[in-house]
């Protein structure tokens, strides 16, 4: 009887402590003008990357205009499979894999914020956890404005890229400008949980950088309200195997601040041929 009494007492204690359930939080309020960058580490031979690409697309769809993204294939799990048409193991993507110290895929960097102070990790594996990082970044106040313009000459296949960066608050230290070129609507093979999908649509594939991989120094100790501009020229290779199609090309510009852990302050994206 004593034992029964003790068990009853324990049940009573725990039932008295019943927790109030927490409802699913509503979507965050996106700070006005804020545009964040997601760098998705993906690969043709990476099975879970199939689902991760879908998750990224849903972020872009539900936060139109507030997120820009590109897929970094690089050199991990990116070897073309037998049925591949394209080889996405491009040098600028490999540079980013090394800069961000990517060790596995799928993974993503969210404005290159440091996600673990202990390890200095900037990329997050495990796509089911990505939404929270997106929410956090979108709620931060806009601190930089980027005006990005592309003028494409169809005859010479050259894009003239004008970038103006206007800090909305003083930013100490070096500001670097990064300009990347990506391509969408590339139909090719991709590993998936059900085997190789032959007609997977690869979107936002990072093809090259118009700037240096580490970014170009834009200004040191930026003044609020000042406009800092740079111009780039990019020659698009000739179309081949439905690749390098001007209409499918995207230009992404973003700014990193050295004194703010090298994190991305703002991003912007335009089509090469508007």
């Amino acid at each position: 009887m004593k034992i029964l009494y003790k068990i009853t007492l324990l049940v009573f204690i725990f039932s008295a402590c019943e927790e109030q359930m927490i409802p699913v939080p509503p979507p965050p309020e996106i700070a006005e003008g804020r545009v964040m960058l997601i760098e998705e580490m993906t690969g043709v031979g990476c099975v879970p990357c199939f689902g991760a690409a879908e998750i990224l697309e849903s972020f872009l769809e539900t936060n139109k205009g507030s997120i820009v993204a590109y897929g970094v294939h690089g050199d991990i799990l990116s070897d073309p499979v037998d049925q591949s048409t394209y080889d996405f193991r491009l040098p600028d993507a490999i540079d980013i894999i090394q800069i961000l110290q990517v060790t596995g895929k799928p993974a993503a960097a969210f404005n290159r914020t440091i996600l673990n102070e202990n390890t200095g990790r900037r990329v997050q594996a495990n796509p089911p956890t990505w939404q929270a990082f997106v929410d956090t970044e979108l709620q931060k106040q806009q601190v930089v404005e980027i005006r990005l313009l592309s003028t494409f000459n169809e005859e010479t296949r050259q894009a003239e890229i004008d970038v103006s960066v206007i800090p909305l608050e003083p930013i100490s230290g070096e500001l670097a400008l990064h300009v990347k070129i990506s391509e969408s609507h590339l139909i090719d093979s991709q590993s998936s949980p059900n085997g190789i999908v032959l007609d997977f649509e690869h979107n936002h594939v990072l093809k090259t950088s118009a700037s240096a991989s580490q970014g170009d120094l834009l200004v040191t100790d930026a003044v609020a309200g000042e406009s800092y501009a740079k111009k780039y020229f990019y020659s698009l290779p000739d179309e081949l195997n439905e690749e390098w199609i001007a209409e499918n090309m995207e230009i992404i510009a973003f700014v990193t601040a050295k004194d703010r852990n090298g994190e991305v302050q703002q991003a912007a994206q335009v089509h090469m041929m508007e």
Binding site: I22, P23, V24, G51, S58, D75, Q101, N118, Q131
Partner: protein, 567 residues
Amino acid sequence: MIKLSNYLISSLIIVALCLCTPTYSQDTGSFSGGFQSQTNFFMRDSLIGAANIPQYDNELIGTQAWLDLGYMYQGFDIGVRFDMFNNSNLLDPSSSYTDQGIGRWHIGKKLDKLDIRVGHIYDQIGSGIIYRAYEERPLLIDNALYGARLIYDFSDNWALKGFTGRQRFLFDAYPATIKGGTLEGYIDLTPKDKENATLFTLAPGIGIVNRTLDRENVDAIGSAIRNYLDVQRFKLASNTFSGSLFNTLSYGPISLYTEAAVKSPEAFFDPFEPQLRIVGDPLEGSWVKEMGSVYYASLSYAGNGFGITVEGKRTENFDFRADPRLSLLRGLVTFIPPMNRANTYRLTARYSPATQLLSEQAFQVDVRYRFSKKLSALVNYSNINTLDGEKLYQEVFTEIMYKYKRKWQIKGGIQMQQYNQDRYEIKPGVPLVETFTPYVDFLYKFTRKKSLRIESQFMSIGEDEKAGFKQDYGDWFFFLVEYAMAPHWSFVVSDMYNVAAGKNTPTGDNGEKLLLHYPRVDIYYTQKANRFSLSYIKQVEGIVCNGGVCRLEPAFSGFNFSVTSSF
């Protein structure tokens, strides 16, 4: 902040150790410790996949080291451990990690029937299913509880234990708080009135663990399921409870361990559950909220040269971590006993099944018989399926050992495996890996101090008809020679050779599969309590497991220098 306080506390411990020792010169207590270090010299070999991580590309050398110090004095138990990682690949074999500091400290004191301990505490409840805090250095698992623990012995046979804290991760701790307690006892039912009565005892216990997530963690899960259709959404909770009832029954040579554990519904990611999203097509893998359970039993008998152990286990939704968003080896609160033989030979250990936390049904039988002082044999059979009946792993392992006086001994046998590489290594579409591995191990003692050991295995692998090759890397041959000169020297030379190409065997520039050698040379030197080793290693990628906890290790190429000391 935690790191700073670690430094402060450990400094105080060290100062206290220095000050108190001479004061009580009549009883200076006991001081002990140990040092371990491993240094890897990385030599890039892109052909085998030993490339494209910072150590091969730039850093070239990586080291990890630990120094343990412990002091016991008049009921006090004080310990501190210095950890150092310098371009180390131990945390993640594919990346570089650098940090150093006080990895662990603890202070304990026994006050009559009360045992008090604070700091980093290793402990477990039952077999560890609802709670296990332990260190597994080869996999850099160290999930000690950073908190406090009390144990009260309210009789000779019964003890009550309570603890609370947070789970350690490197030089910090996860934000979730963990609380728990056990009541454990020992009941002797052996008839006292009979002489030579068979020993009959029970060791029952009950345990409970509660984990409370911080709000940021809860909201992070909430933000993920916000994109789900209503039918898949669920309300969130900060608290998860798990409870366990366990008992060891011993009757003469028979021992029966049973444990039943349940976990209250909590959110976890099920990689096989379809995710129904507001935007886009359904995806494979979804957050779900379900109850969890594990039932485990182990029956063993040993007597008259005969021994048998039968184990069974059923696991459902028991992924219990300090943070449900963690994966692989990170943040595990639970430790579910593995249900396969822990193999030690290079090829017989090549395919090892990691314990599945969401769906597993398994049993294992191990039978041993000693025919005479010279001759013994064992047979082990293990079978692991999902709860839906999908085959995960099956192994038959046999061994016969013959000892001739103290001059030589020979061991040999056969291992047969079926290994679900799709599930364990996320390689979809690959067939069940099937292996057939005969092995032999011969030891010859020239003198009491000098001996030679020869070990050889051949692994034959099944065909991957879809790929047109053998499965995985194909067939392997392994050969090892070890010459030991006790008590100081030991020399080991081995080679693992890819005899017949498999689907994943590296391809050369001409498109042909390359049948590579993976040699290894080790020199060991032992000087009293110090042991040094220098190794040249070329190693193919493979699964490394400790107690059912496994990870995929990439290929390695280079040298390793290790030092182990104890005092």
